[in-house]
């Protein structure tokens, strides 16, 4: 009996002490023998996220194919919510995955040396090797381009007597008034996640801030400009005006991204400012032929399109398998089958040399891509406010505060002036 008790106590102590021990800070990467006597096949962890467009099957199929090509075992980790916040939690607890996709707030991760730099050779297949770079270092593969525009329902425009999408801001306001007059909600927005409510503000800042000064964010990081400046205030007042006139429905703040998408597709609103990825859901819907697009119009009718290139895979610089992880990352981003499926599933424009999109004429996706090509040809692309990355982006924590401030404006809780002062205060606090 004594021996049994002693053994029990010893085992309990051992278990308890092992629970107390500090984990390995190099993340979850391990080597795993593929079989007795066989050479060890390396295993890497891969942080992904699932959406309506990016289903579990999408990830599993692509991981299986690319991992076999590279000769590595890949363990998928699905972010339960905000993938960047989740990656920070994993990093803080010593479990930072070997590879991540679509990570945001790159300077924070990179500042403490957690992200591996890709070499010129790695970046050779990419169209814009230094897009989203941090101080000249590319730590996230600049794999895709996304754009932001307004999707609109042609039938609702016709109902309001509008024959063509607006070309100037005055026309946009006039169209919104006509739609409202016919009992049609002019804009559909979302509230949860909060970026769903700031997209019209991104539109205003595209034409009124970035079109004139694409370096604004760099200057803000250097402390040379403030949110509380005339250009920013003008754009913010225009955004507040949309809410005050009832063109933005503040009750939309209670709806999720999925619900806002469904509301637009169900015809509960005429215009939907959204990223290019919405083209995938548009094309999958029954109303795809009723959906058109236009760029957020400027006062003078000039053409500017917010765009962003980046958002690809990042690699844990402290991973024991960093080389194979980088090899997997590059193979993933240049795999034609993956590029084709991501273009179809998430309406991404792969920024890869020599890649051509699958033929999809007559679709919303094609229209969005054509608008992007038109902007590139006219040198009319500008950064997308709130979505920039690397040196082009806001400092850690600010994108969330900026998105939530959009809701303060829509609900009338704060004036534009109060919001801009708040943003400057929070920026100073965060930095």
């Amino acid at each position: 009996m004594k021996k049994i008790l002693a053994l029990g106590a010893a085992l309990t102590l051992a278990a308890g002490l092992s629970a107390c021990s500090v984990g390995d800070n190099n993340g979850g990467s391990t080597t795993q023998p593929s079989g007795s006597g066989a050479a060890a096949k390396k295993e890497i962890t891969f942080l992904v996220f699932e959406t309506d467009n990016l289903t579990p099957k999408f990830w599993d199929d692509n991981i299986k194919r690319v991992s076999e090509k590279v000769g590595v075992t890949v363990k998928k980790i699905v972010a339960p919510g905000d993938r960047t916040a989740y990656a920070k939690q994993l990093l803080a607890s010593g479990q930072f995955p070997d590879v991540q996709i679509g990570l945001q707030d790159l300077p924070s991760f990179d500042g403490s040396g957690n992200l591996a730099e890709f070499s010129d050779e790695d970046l050779q297949p990419f169209l814009c090797p230094k897009c989203s770079a941090i101080k000249g270092r590319t730590v996230q593969l600049p794999a895709n381009t996304q754009t932001w525009q307004v999707f609109y329902r042609k039938s609702l425009f016709e109902k309001a007597g509008i024959s063509a999408p607006p070309k100037t801001y005055a026309e946009l306001l006039a169209d919104a008034e006509k739609l409202k007059g016919k009992g049609v909600q002019p804009f559909v927005i979302g509230g949860n996640p909060s970026w769903g409510s700031s997209l019209p503000w991104t539109g205003e800042l595209t034409t009124d801030l970035y079109a004139g000064n694409p370096e604004w964010m760099h200057q803000r990081r250097d402390g040379k400009v403030k949110f509380d400046s005339p250009e920013f205030l003008k754009a913010t007042k225009k955004f507040a005006d949309l809410a005050a006139k009832g063109y933005l429905n503040k009750k939309d703040l209670g709806q999720s991204y999925d619900a806002s998408q469904a509301a637009f597709l169900d015809g509960k609103g005429a215009m939907y400012p959204m990223g290019s990825w919405f083209a995938a859901a548009s094309d999958a819907s029954k109303v795809k032929d009723d959906i058109g697009i236009f760029a957020w119009p400027a006062d003078d009718g000039s053409f500017h399109l917010p765009s962003f290139t980046g958002g690809g895979l990042t690699v844990n610089a402290k991973s024991p398998n960093v080389d194979i992880a980088k090899k997997f990352a590059v193979a993933w981003q240049t795999d034609k089958d993956y590029l084709d499926t991501s273009a179809v599933a998430d309406a991404l424009f792969p920024a890869i040399k020599g890649y051509t999109l699958p033929a999809k004429d007559g679709t919303v996706f094609k229209a969005v891509y054509d608008l992007y090509r038109q902007a590139v040809d006219q040198n009319a692309t500008v950064p997308s406010f709130g979505w920039e990355q690397g040196d082009d982006g806001m400092i850690a924590g600010m994108p969330d505060k900026w998105n939530l401030s959009a809701q303060d404006i829509i609900t009338g809780k704060k004036t534009p002036e109060e919001v801009l002062k708040y943003l400057d205060t929070e920026w100073d606090k965060s930095s």
Partner: protein
Amino acid sequence: MVSDVAARPRKPPVGSRTRHRPKRRIWPRVWHFLSFGAPGVLIYVCFVLVPIVVSFGYSLTNYNPFNPPTKFVGLRNYQLMLQDDTFLTSLKITTILTAIVVIVPNVVGLGIAVLLDRNGWLYNALRSVFFTPMVLSSVVISVIWTRMLQDDGPINDVLRAIGVQDPPGWLSDPDIALYSLATVLCWQMLGFCVVIYLAGLSGVPKELLEAASIDGAGPIRRFWQVTWPMLAPALTVNTVVLLISAFKIFDHVQVITQGGPGTGSTATIAFLAIQTAFVDNHQGYASAEAIAMLVVIAVLTTISLGVLRRREVNL
């Protein structure tokens, strides 16, 4: 009688006490303690005490895992916190939420418990119905209520059907969202209160109620003079559990409102601490917010227990 005397142990002769004292064997006791007590102690130390101590340590630094080196800053985080509008707003919001969640389920739960304090299959079934939300995952409940409270959700559909032209934006109006959140929490905690009060009601002696009845006390007087004082332990349990649960609420906020709409409308301290730590990356400051939350909960719980226990003693 004789056998009793014989069985009684004999007193040892004087002077032989030390020589004949039975050997006190300490190791079996130690082993017993280790085998039975150690698992619990280890779990408590590893998962409660150590994290608290480590968090307190972090709260005295400027720890930011993305911006080393970490420096000792003393009580500076606590000083900043007391001047930080964001933290003070979240403290106010958490306090309002806690007050609602402590009061409403207690009052409504007591009423329902009194109504259900009868025998029969229907009452048993109703007890299960009221307790069901308590055993459901907070995330599941939050998702269900998010759908219910959306502008085009069932609640507003019903309101529109009965002629309300412009129903409230339960989750989109910053003046209402906090109360919507409180309603969800109250709904979930109600079953717990009902069960605890039912347990308390079953412990009220029938003789006392009968005696009061014979003395001419009506139902209301019997309740206030006999039943209610006897429910003091149940009130203590409910109040303390609700207070702790409400003050550290995070999951409902994360799923239903994400702290919005707008800045800080429904951001509780726990939600703010997570945001500060894993979005803003200021983990030293977030640790200070978490320690402040712990201290407030500890103080409020101690005061509540003191007041409510005194009431129990006065019975």
